[in-house]
């Protein structure tokens, strides 16, 4: 099944999805307005996607210098206001926005060790997210989780750092929706490397056996740390693996938000109709290292420059201008997106650290 756009999903009235295009609001949700005449994403979705990609990229752009503070002249991971590992999502924004444009707050999303773009697109509280990454008391979990373990119950978003382990929980969340007779869905994001992990195969099989409203989204950025996909994956396309689990597999080339939007729309609509799970494989790219501090010696000469020249965000802006969006409208959306991030970072910097004794709280409910 190709990524045919799904026009007018016919979803039930959704009281908790915002439909505005302001960068500060939640995603349009599955009941967003009619598709435009080309059969693709409608105008408000496209503007939201653009603004959210800008927001996401700006978030990473502010993380970078903050992360490197204190880690000079010797890069010592323990030092500075953001210690530990940092996995940035530059380049992968189309994957997050194309999918989350269709999601409501009540839909579940599980993400990976590289979560920021997905969290932002899902509508995770930006201030609490930034505070969590800075380890502050006002963070999503009061500093206990950090960048790889962001949970926001308001929008049913969770992420964690063990490869492919977000898939099982997505199957469970999807099953819960089905048992309750709701038309919510669960989406699990994963990398292409995770498609070689046992949990991937078990989760896809189980999702089909139970016929749950789950969507599995592979962000193929070509590398699992230093290992290229072709050196560790038996198949050319992971979307072909969907057939082994009796579900549709969509292959989405070109790191294109509109194409992701179309494929995700079809998969999510199918799930909401009770027809079962789908697998989506998106060709994307990782513009930074696997983690901040990765020397990337394993990347061929010139590869990063080539990828940066094909940065999906300026490309999408150009497409929107071609499609008749006004530059001023885009500029305004961009400015609002950046301002929201700037405010979140300022608040996170200023926020207090938790009392160390708080380490012992919430081990048990």
């Amino acid at each position: 099944m190709s990524g045919a756009p799904n026009i007018g999903s016919g979803a039930s009235a959704d009281t908790d999805a915002a439909r505005g295009v302001s960068a500060g609001m939640a995603s349009p949700g599955a009941a967003s307005g009619a598709a435009d005449s080309r059969g693709g994403a409608n105008r408000s979705d496209r503007l939201w996607m653009y603004a959210t990609m800008v927001k996401s990229r700006h978030f990473e752009a502010l993380i970078k210098p903050a992360y490197f503070e204190g880690k000079s002249p010797v890069f010592n991971m323990a030092k500075g206001p953001i210690p530990g590992e940092m996995h940035l999502s530059d380049g992968q924004e189309p994957c997050a926005v194309g999918v989350c444009a269709h999601l409501r707050a009540r839909d579940t999303v599980t993400a990976t060790h590289r979560p920021h773009h997905v969290a932002i697109a899902k509508g995770v509280d930006l201030n609490a997210m930034a505070a969590e990454i800075f380890g502050k008391a006002s963070g999503l979990s009061g500093g206990r989780g950090g960048h790889m373990h962001l949970f926001d119950a308001r929008v049913n978003f969770a992420c964690s750092g063990i490869i492919a382990q977000g898939l099982g929980p997505a199957v469970g969340a999807a099953l819960a929706a089905k048992l309750r007779g709701e038309d919510h869905v669960a989406v699990a994001f994963l990398g292409e490397g995770a498609a070689n992990q046992g949990a991937f195969h078990e989760a896809l099989n189980l999702a089909s056996v139970w016929k749950v409203p789950a969507v599995f989204v592979i962000e193929d950025n070509s590398y699992g740390i230093s290992v290229a996909k072709r050196d560790c994956t038996a198949v050319e396309r992971n979307s072909d693996r969907a057939a082994a689990y009796a579900m549709p597999g969509h292959f989405v080339p070109g790191n294109d938000a509109d194409a992701v939007h179309a494929a995700a729309g079809a998969a999510i609509a199918r799930a909401r109709r009770g027809e079962g799970p789908s697998l989506i494989e998106i060709e994307t790219c990782r513009l930074e290292g696997h983690f901040m501090g990765d020397a990337e010696g394993y990347r061929p000469e010139g590869e990063v420059e080539r990828l940066k020249a094909a940065d999906p965000i300026p490309a999408y802006r150009a497409r929107l201008l071609d499609a008749g969006f006004e530059a001023a409208e885009l500029d305004k959306a961009e400015a609002e997106a950046r301002a929201a991030v700037d405010a979140a970072f300022a608040a996170a910097r200023a926020a207090a650290y938790p009392d160390p004794e708080e380490a012992f709280a919430h081990v048990f409910a």
Binding site: S72, P73, V74, F75, D294, A295, G297
Partner: protein, 76 residues
Amino acid sequence: MTEVTVPTGLWDTGDEAAISAWLYADGDAVAAGAVIAEIMVEKSSFELVAPASGTLAILVAAEIPVVQGQTVARIA
């Protein structure tokens, strides 16, 4: 007496470098060819190899920025 200098040509001159660890102490005997320190440049690690055998005199401590060609120790 031989100078131990930061290798040249292995990284962009603009990148900040520092010795992340001296593997030997000031006054230790070192053998030619031994790796005597590790230099970190941005995100990469390079070896500093003893050009001669003898007694090491460390001139620049770890975590102090250094530049290519700089003398960081002597071996006598």
